[in-house]
């Protein structure tokens, strides 16, 4: 178990180059505390995408009653359809 555990963890070890890059990120964040983490930037991007998607869906959602043709088809009578449209608009 010990040997397998060590081999398993060895597999996940960053290469020297990856460790150096990771250090550079830490160093840059130490020098510039306002820099945010990868996870924070991802969360912000995700939130922004979700907000834009919600805005698009809201904008495209029908905000007015369906065309009068639908009411005509439903009632079979333009006069009744017009009354329904007016009633819905109220």
């Amino acid at each position: 178990v010990k040997d397998l555990m060590k081999r398993f963890l060895d597999e996940a070890q960053p290469t020297p180059h990856q460790a150096e890059v990771a250090w550079r990120v830490i160093e840059s964040r130490v020098r510039e505390p306002s820099r945010r983490s990868r996870r924070w930037r991802f969360a912000v991007a995700l939130s922004a995408t979700a907000a834009v998607a919600t805005g698009i869906l809201w904008w495209r959602a029908p905000s007015s009653p369906p065309p009068i043709e639908i009411y005509v088809a439903r009632t079979g009578d333009p006069g009744s359809a017009l009354e329904l449209v007016i009633a819905e608009a109220k």
């Binding site: 178990v1 555990m5 398993f8 963890l9 070890q13 960053p14 990771a22 830490i26 983490s37």
Partner: protein, 202 residues
């Protein structure tokens, strides 16, 4: 003054000189000594990454945890008091961050594909991949805290009494956790045709 610091963080838990040397390291980091900070990073980053990965089973998330731990060290060095030693202090910070992240990620776990590269012959590569994939599968059957205890014991070589101080449990409870976790690992490996006694000391 800073020269002996890299050695100080390698000192065993509870070493009498460790606390004094660690305090010097923390003071240097608190003053903004990047060289001292870098030495601590170079010395401990591999160990901490192994622990974070053992808990999270995800390289990218382990990277983020290590980054946050070292940033916390840099920002809070002036307030940290290494009563248990700098290395155990960073072990504890890593464990807390990793376990906290694990809870937050519970619903959004990403799969991680084991990519073994041990050995050169095809048989060796296949065997290594099977063993590592089995180990991952067995570890997934444990809780994050159990994985942490197992990694701290098998990989970092800590005794249950030392691990207990890091995970905030009693030594006896830690021994029970370790025993149960190792039993689950052994049973899972045996059930998949791997004899742990032939794979190494357990």
């Amino acid at each position: 003054m800073i020269g002996g610091m890299a050695a100080s963080v390698a000192a065993p838990l509870g070493s009498s000189d460790t606390a004094r040397h660690d305090q010097v390291v923390l003071d240097a980091i608190a003053r903004g000594d990047l060289a001292a900070f870098r030495r601590v990073y170079d010395r401990l980053q591999p160990k901490l990454h192994r622990i974070a990965f053992a808990v999270l089973l995800d390289c990218g998330e382990a990277d983020d945890v290590i980054q946050e731990v070292f940033l916390k060290l840099h920002r809070q060095a002036a307030r940290w008091s290494p009563q248990i030693g700098l290395e155990p202090l960073l072990f504890r910070a890593t464990l807390n961050s990793a376990l906290s992240l694990l809870r937050r990620l519970a619903r959004f776990r990403r799969s991680w594909k084991a990519d073994a590269g041990v050995g050169s012959s095809p048989e060796h590569v296949v065997a290594a991949r099977q063993g590592i994939a089995l180990m991952r599968s067995a570890l997934e059957g444990l809780s994050g805290k159990q994985r942490a205890v197992v990694a701290l014991h098998l990989d970092a070589g800590l005794e249950p009494s030392d691990i207990a101080r890091l995970v905030g449990a009693t030594p006896n409870a830690t021994r029970v956790t370790l025993h149960r976790a190792l039993s689950v690992l052994r049973q899972t490996l045996i059930a998949n045709g791997v004899n742990p006694l032939q794979e190494g000391e357990s």
